[in-house]
């Protein structure tokens, strides 16, 4: 069974960090990456991401499939920007250096290429961070970490519950699918796409009904064991913050402030090599 983007236990200092520090790092890192268009900072972030990605001993097969998907979207995104806004670069950087003409008012300009290059490396600053957060954080710790950074425990627990029951629902889905196939509802490649979509309903409805039965049990079970009694709750899987955690959080905050200061030093979030 392939476990894409699933947590794997490994002995690195990144794995040992508390989920809270990883979550803070992840959120602030993404925030910084979203705000800044300063190429120097983005370049540093890409480099740094790749280094810690390496340290976390994440294997390609854990993330490869998702990475390919992201690449597809990145490509679409880059093309879409050019199609809908071919002069965005000029608009930002104020100059217009045409490299060659395509058709109509579509010119390839240096500014546009540079702008889109920035978009691409923004993706690359975030991708390793997302992957790392997911594969190095024990899902049992997600809820506790989210709660610690101030998000209501209901939100965290909803995610936990989803993670808990997804395998059960998958198992149920397979069972129902098999039973319906035996009744003659074709779900394999033999049927046309349209009839397959239509046939999905014969799996989805039983799945919903049997899941409904379950929701009732789950909510009763939770209530009977005191869920929602207090405004707060404690967490069995919470990891105490240790030296490395404080260092990580401190580094993240210092880095973000520095990055934002450098970015906005000239009053714009863009680094402009054209003037």
């Amino acid at each position: 069974m392939s476990k894409i983007l699933a947590y794997e236990e490994k002995d690195t200092w990144i794995h040992q960090l508390s989920g809270v520090s990883k979550l803070i790092f992840f959120l602030l890192w993404c925030f910084t990456s979203m705000i800044t268009y300063d190429t120097r900072i983005l370049a540093f972030m890409v480099l740094f991401s790749l280094i810690i990605f390496k340290i976390s001993k994440t294997k390609w097969k854990q993330v490869g499939a998702v990475f390919k998907m992201i690449m597809l979207f990145l490509t679409l995104n880059v093309i879409a920007i050019f199609v809908f806004s071919p002069d965005q670069g000029t608009h930002i950087y104020g100059t217009r250096t045409v490299l060659f003409h395509i058709a109509g008012n579509y010119d390839v300009t240096k500014e546009q290429l540079f702008y889109e290059f920035n978009v691409i490396i923004k993706y690359f600053t975030v991708i390793p961070a997302v992957f790392m957060f997911l594969v190095t954080t024990n899902p049992s710790e997600f809820a506790a970490s989210m709660n610690k950074v101030g998000i209501s425990y209901n939100v965290g627990y909803a995610i936990s519950i989803a993670l808990r029951y997804i395998p059960d629902v998958q198992g149920e889905f397979t069972k129902i699918k098999h039973a319906q196939e035996a009744r003659g509802i074709e779900m394999s490649g033999k049927a046309s796409l349209f009839s397959r979509i239509k046939n999905t309903s014969s799996i989805i409805f039983p799945l919903i009904f049997s899941s409904m039965d379950r929701i009732d049990v789950v909510s009763n079970a939770m209530e009977l064991r005191g869920y929602g009694k207090h405004k707060k709750r404690t967490w069995y899987m919470e990891k105490k913050l240790r030296r490395n955690d404080y260092l990580t959080i401190a580094f993240t905050i210092v880095f973000m402030i520095a990055a934002l200061i450098i970015t906005f030093a000239d009053g714009s979030r863009f680094y402009n090599p054209f003037v």
């Binding site: 899902p139 049992s140 936990s160 519950i161 993670l163 808990r164 395998p167 059960d168 149920e172 069972k175 129902i176 098999h178 039973a179 319906q180 196939e181 035996a182 009744r183 003659g184 509802i185 074709e186 309903s201 014969s202 799996i203 409805f205 039983p206 009904f209 049997s210 039965d213 379950r214 049990v217 789950v218 009763n220 079970a221 939770m222 209530e223 009977l224 064991r225 005191g226 869920y227 929602g228 009694k229 207090h230 707060k232 709750r233 404690t234 967490w235 069995y236 899987m237 919470e238």
Partner: protein, 575 residues
């Protein structure tokens, strides 16, 4: 000492219902008592439990009259959370109530909600896990546990809170017999070690009585029909009247014409004083007719040297071989996870065997697609909710024919015919949602029967059903088996079902076929029963304790006698 639970003239009516579900309940339970609450489905026994743990009225609203006190307090002032500190409930759905991502988190759940500091939680979770013997599993996810282990985790999860009352809602419903026995034993140990008050709600009386209980409360139509010791109760006819199955040895004693006396302690067959009964039982055995010989028919489903594994080197099934004859009713039994479902998946073609053949009417099925097999071998899932996808009964039953492109006129004819067979014809234009669970089960069977299969495979056809519904479903299956010659294979861990309704049991343990024999022989063979997590039938103990030399023959004759009785009863009803 004051009672820990006390109902006084208590009645309760759900908001959506016109009639009260509980009427005039007077019941006092003392601290440290172990009480078994029995009653058929719809008798109000679950409602009674909900009143104790607070789901009534806090989750399911309604009106009540009279008083209820739990630990000398009014539940209304305690609220559901206050009650949760006093009453711990273990529900019957072992999967649904497992909330944590791992065993440790699930046990800690109540503590987390009570703001217990982490250090203390570690300690308490360890203790609770130790108590129910799951300490080695603390880091495991629920998917890696067996049903019995999940249930023990749930027990730890309520005990961790140091509640005074433990309430078990049908703890045996989802377990194989041996695991069920272990659960009852575990509950007994907990009570003895921790002096908790224990309430067990269950309709499988014989299995629940594996360990002593102080009292049995029988609920029927919302009232308490009996509240007495097991020995007293088993000497009466109340259970039969209420549609609860008596322990089989009690039924056998009654067949033999014995009048059971409480002073012979009939609660456990192992320790019952049988002196006054032996002669009668022996006499009955000698007079009882032998089981009629089955006539030989041709093979319909034959499995030859079947192997299956998901990953090389880890076989799920090995060297499975059997031959099912036309018109037989066969049970496939074995502990949870032994490979029973895998076997049915292989027969239906969802998986491909790694080696071996499955023959239908002597022809290899390997080249047939799932759909083609589905016309010959019908699969009925455990819950009708897993199958029903159309809102109207007619459409649901017609579905298999519609997707096969059968002409509309023929569909109509065949659907009506099947609905008549299944006793659903009067409801043909009804929506499925208006039916009871048992009727929905029939719809799901009808939707398969309409395709005229030769073989019907049913996964746990009677799971969670009380004696009356169980009999209803099984008699229906028996009928289609006899009248239409359909071969029926049932995957089950219900010992009664296999004993009473099947001619043959195929026993699978750890991927191997360990027996293929009559249920009576299987259930009187200690070695097989142990290996396959089955439970020796109490009839065997009765026979042995009455010095009957051929215990399995005794069981055969008992079953034959019961069947005869049932048939006569039906004929009388028909007249």
């Amino acid at each position: 000492m004051a009672p820990i639970i006390e109902f006084k003239d208590f009645s309760f009516k759900y908001r959506a219902q016109t009639e009260p579900t509980l009427r005039n309940i007077n019941l006092a339970i003392m601290p440290g008592e172990k009480v078994l609450i029995v009653g058929p489905s719809g008798s109000g026994k679950s409602t009674l439990a909900h009143c104790i743990n607070g789901l009534v009225p806090f989750s399911y609203t309604g009106e009540s009259t009279g008083t209820l006190q739990i630990a000398q307090k009014d539940p209304a002032t305690l609220g559901i959370f206050g009650l949760s500190k006093i009453v711990g409930t273990v529900l019957q759905d072992t999967d649904g109530q497992f909330i944590g991502l791992t065993v440790a988190e699930d046990i800690a759940f109540a503590l987390e909600n009570n703001l217990v500091p982490q250090e203390e939680m570690f300690k308490k979770v360890d203790e609770a896990a130790e108590m129910v013997d799951v300490k080695k599993l603390l880091g495991n996810a629920p998917g890696e546990l067996s049903g019995g282990q999940k249930q023990r985790v749930s027990m730890a999860g309520v005990m961790v809170d140091d509640v005074d009352i433990l309430l078990f809602d049908e703890p045996l419903a989802n377990l194989d017999p041996a695991t069920g026995k272990r659960a009852i034993d575990m509950i007994d140990q907990i009570q003895k070690k921790k002096q908790k008050t224990i309430l067990i709600i269950e309709h499988r009386l014989e299995d629940a009585l594996y360990r002593d209980v102080d009292r049995i409360v029988v609920i029927g139509e919302g009232r308490i029909v009996a509240d007495t010791t097991p020995d007293e109760l088993l000497s009466t006819d109340i259970l039969n009247q209420q549609g609860i199955r008596e322990p089989l040895y009690i039924t056998a004693l009654k067949h033999a014409g014995c009048v059971i006396s409480p002073k012979d302690s009939p609660q456990h067959i192992e320790t019952m004083n049988l002196q006054g009964y032996t002669a009668a039982v022996k006499n009955w055995f000698e007079k009882a007719p032998e089981k009629p010989k089955e006539k030989e028919t041709t093979s319909v489903l034959k499995v030859e040297d079947l192997y299956f594994s998901y990953t090389e080197g880890k076989p799920i099934l090995q060297h499975i071989h059997f031959d099912i004859k036309k018109g037989e009713m066969v049970s496939i039994v074995g502990k949870n996870g032994a490979g029973k479902s895998t076997l049915s998946n292989l027969i239906c073609g969802f998986y491909k065997p790694s080696r071996g053949k499955i023959l239908l009417d002597g022809e290899d099925m390997a080249p047939l697609s799932i759909k083609e097999r589905g016309e010959k071998i019908g699969l009925v899932m455990q819950s009708p909710n897993q199958m029903i996808s159309k809102p109207m009964i007619y459409d649901e039953v017609a579905l298999g024919l519609v997707v096969r492109g059968v002409p509309e006129e023929e569909i109509k004819e065949r659907v009506y015919k099947t609905l008549k067979t299944c006793g659903l014809y009067p409801f043909r234009n009804w929506p499925v949602s208006a039916l009871s669970f048992g009727q929905k089960k029939r719809v799901s069977i009808a939707s398969i029967l309409v395709m005229d299969p030769q073989v019907l495979i049913l996964d746990e056809p009677t799971a969670g059903q009380d004696y009356r519904h169980y009999t209803e479903i099984m008699e229906f299956l028996k009928e289609i088996n006899e009248n239409y010659g359909i071969t029926i294979i049932m995957i089950t861990h219900d010992m009664h079902l296999m004993l009473e309704y099947t001619d043959r049991a195929i026993v699978i343990a750890d991927g191997h076929l360990i027996a293929d024999d009559t249920p009576a022989k299987v259930l009187t063979n200690e070695e097989i029963a142990d290996k396959a997590y089955l439970k020796k039938t109490s009839l065997y103990d009765l026979a042995v304790n009455c010095q009957i030399g051929q215990p399995s023959e005794f069981v055969e004759r008992f079953i034959a006698f019961e069947r005869e009785n049932r048939m006569q009863k039906e004929e009388q009803e028909d007249v």
